[in-house]
């Protein structure tokens, strides 16, 4: 009997690998955006599988804001080294010069470091295809995002000019100057990601697991005081709380949840029994209903 039923994770894995290989076969100069989060970790792991025994034939690009958690920087460097891949770190020089930070500059922080930084980095290295770890289940406007998402020469996303994707056929052809963002884990859900990390033993940032950490409570979020740049308000003193993070970004913008989950199964257990969505911990989405769609049109991932 040769027949075997593929599990949902096996099918998702096969699809993601297929997408990555299509890009490598058709793109001139691809790159993988690496944000050090759990989705990036899974994407990187899939890339290793897709091209084994060769290392993934493209570099990793981290568009840095200088405000990530320290644990993230540590894992970033280690993961690239383990995969045998070149790691490119890009910081928007204007944001560096002006000292853009999430405390004083509000939404300008995301605009300059991430949106502008990403565009600058892609232009600087001439990348024509960039892999991203976005998933369709993250947010409503992402549910309609293509796997191959086309961007004009000035990086804008136009919902009307996106191409239909049929079967396993991806049309990667583009004019000079145009680029493509490719999302190989589009069809994975948060639970799929966690299950796969568990099954494959993929290393992730320790911040996903609960530990006593110095925190303050502010504007309805629990924020971690990760370094001395965190300006404390009058009357605020960091308190040790047993917390973990469901999603990782810039530490001053990422809310923690109180938790005792110290192992992967415990994290998954908590996630399954929780009653709030993973993006709730991110300040960026709460502006207005269509905020993510607007940001995407402007070039944010």
């Amino acid at each position: 009997m040769n027949q075997k039923s593929l599990t949902h994770l096996q099918r998702l894995e096969a699809e993601s690998i297929h997408i990555m290989r299509e890009v490598v076969a058709e793109a001139e100069n691809p790159v993988m955006l690496y944000s050090v989060g759990k989705d990036s970790a899974v994407m990187l792991h899939l890339a290793k599988k897709a091209f084994y025994p060769a290392p993934p034939p493209f570099p990793l690009l981290h568009v840095d804001t200088t405000w990530k958690f320290r644990d993230m920087y540590a894992l970033r460097d280690k993961a690239a080294k383990d995969a045998g891949m070149e790691l490119l770190v890009y910081q928007n020089p204007e944001a560096v010069a002006r000292g853009i930070n999430p405390f004083d500059h509000g939404s300008l922080h995301t605009d300059m470091w991430k949106t502008e930084g990403l565009k600058q980095a892609l232009d600087k290295y001439g990348f024509d295809v960039a892999f991203g770890g976005a998933r369709r289940d993250e947010e409503k406007s992402r549910a309609k995002e293509r796997v191959f998402s086309f961007r004009s020469a000035n990086h804008r996303w136009d919902p009307k000019s996106q191409r239909p994707e049929l079967w396993r056929l991806y049309n990667a052809r583009k004019a000079k100057g145009e680029s493509v963002r490719v999302f190989p884990i589009s069809n994975w859900t948060e639970l799929d990601i966690w299950q796969y990390i568990h099954l494959e033993g993929i290393e992730i940032v320790p911040l996903y697991f609960s530990a006593p950490r110095p925190t303050v409570q502010r504007d309805g979020l629990i924020l971690m005081v990760d370094d001395e740049r965190f300006p404390l308000r009058d009357g605020e003193t960091p308190q040790m709380r047993s917390v973990r993070f469901r999603t990782l970004g810039c530490y001053p913008l990422t809310g923690a949840v109180e938790s005792e989950a110290r192992t992967l199964p415990e994290v998954i257990q908590e996630m399954l029994l929780t009653t709030t969505s993973e993006r709730q911990g991110r300040a960026i989405d709460h502006d207005q209903a269509a905020s993510m769609e607007k940001k995407k049109q402007e070039g944010y991932f």
Binding site: T7, H8, R11, I17, K49, R173, I268, S277
Partner: protein, 635 residues
Amino acid sequence: MTTQDPIYKTDALIAENIDAYLEAHQHKTMLRFITCGSVDDGKSTLIGRLLYDSKMIFEDQLAALEADSKRVGTQGQEIDFALLVDGLAAEREQGITIDVAYRFFATEKRKFIVADTPGHEQYTRNMVTGASTADVAVILIDARKGVLTQTRRHSYLVNLLGIRHVVLAVNKMDLVGYDQAIFDKIVEEYGEFARSIGIDAFTAIPISGFKGDNITGPSENTPWYHGTALLPHLETVELDTTADQAKPFRMPVQWVNRPNLDFRGFAGLVASGTVRPGDAIRVLPSGKTSTIARVVSLDGDRDLAVAGESVTLTFADEIDCSRGQVIVAAQSPLEVADQFESTLVWMDEHELVPGRAYWLKIGTQTVSATVHAPKYEVNVNTQEHLATKTLDLNAIGVANITTDREIPFAPYDDNRDLGGFILIDKITNHTVAAGMIHFALRRAQNIHWQATDIGREHHAGMKHQKPAVLWLTGLSGSGKSTIANIVEKKLARMNRHTFLLDGDNVRHGLNKDLGFTEADRIENIRRVGEVAKLMTDAGLIVITAFISPFRSERDMVRGMMQPGEFVEVFVDTPLSVAEGRDVKGLYAKARAGQLKNFTGIDSPYEAPEAPEIRIDTTEITPEQAADLIIARLIP
């Protein structure tokens, strides 16, 4: 809904024994389905209900939903599930969904991916896209309205895309008092229609997406219904990938993995069948054979891979194999051909241009292909065949296709991966059509190239020259014919063997049956290209003077010639200058509306992007232009 729903039982397991839960859920399978329905059939509500009932909605999303329901919802004070799945801002304002959205939920047995496509008449394109990856189609009918034109359209498309499992969900049963007679009547009417288009079997379920009847479990409101509820049905349907494993082995090669001289692996996704080390294989179209040495993976070599898996294979022998070729079981090869009959679904604003070359991507291979004039268009509402010369956005038709080389394929009904293709516009790079191969045309297989003893090199050698095509393109009145004539005279003086093909002259003879529509202009250029090609085979230097306004056709002719033989000469004269000259009085006629499809006036001219030579006739004389061209040809 009742608390006996299977999905809720898992909560206890998650809380008590997460390891057991994870173990169980790692063995879940995955089913992809599409929901089709008309605008008011309650499709978004049903999907919202599935997400809600399978606990994919979190508290914060629910709070937002409740607020939105009161603000813009259509269900009064009740939760409007449809708001959960309406995505882009523009759509929310219009109140209809206009694209394909993918939703995810899971039960104890399966993970589900739902392609949510709009039911609106104009959006055949989206439904076909969503259906192309689906195992199951859920066709929604409003119990109050019964089988509508759109139900027929959706069913036709579902069948066209080869979906084997159809669910007829008769929705809004709560609004007809859960009346069995109404349900039975709809099922009977639908059954008759379904059989007429080739859907042999379907599963009919009476539901209410709004109230939740027969969604996760049997409803007390329909005691007369003895079948399974929707979700349990979806949890047990056989998957396409499992069925595909029983077929012969086929894998299109995606990428050749060569990290060093000692390793050469062929990466791809298994389209059908299974593969083990030691299996005899054949590479198509070359026909070379070998055996599988290893099935390589990061976690160590494997002894089996099956349809649906991405793998890397190595061969026992060093044989040629590259991207686009297909590895197949040696004893059951695929057909190879370059002419096909296929169904096309047109997806672009710009209509099909018969005769124009498009890129055709099938499996992992991209080739150049031309579509012949359609045999007929299908009226998707009535399934009638209509005569047509082209296919517009959302039109479906049957046409023959010729590719520029032989490709391995399978009829679409046998294998989606080897029989489904897309067409890509060579200029805009848009995906303009989806196609499904029916069969190869015999005529392609019966005409073979006759090998001749005196070849093109011999012809050219006797003339002591290198053949070339000097292709002059530009507006009417730009000076093409004048310059071409001078070039030929100068070359003749240099003892070169030439021939000048002039646009007007060719239309008196070879092409006198052609007019000036876009399709005729393309055929005009194709024939001229073929003639020019024969002349280069005869060793001649060919000079042509045609407006040849479309980039794709100039590129098509370039593709016919040997590399380096085609020299594109852009005779660049601004419209105002050419119109000012108006030697033949044609611009005046066109402006007066007496001449249709005149380039520059009511038909576009697509200037070359990177011509070998560009001549600005406002700067230099025809004589100087001719010298420039000759200098390039004979350095």
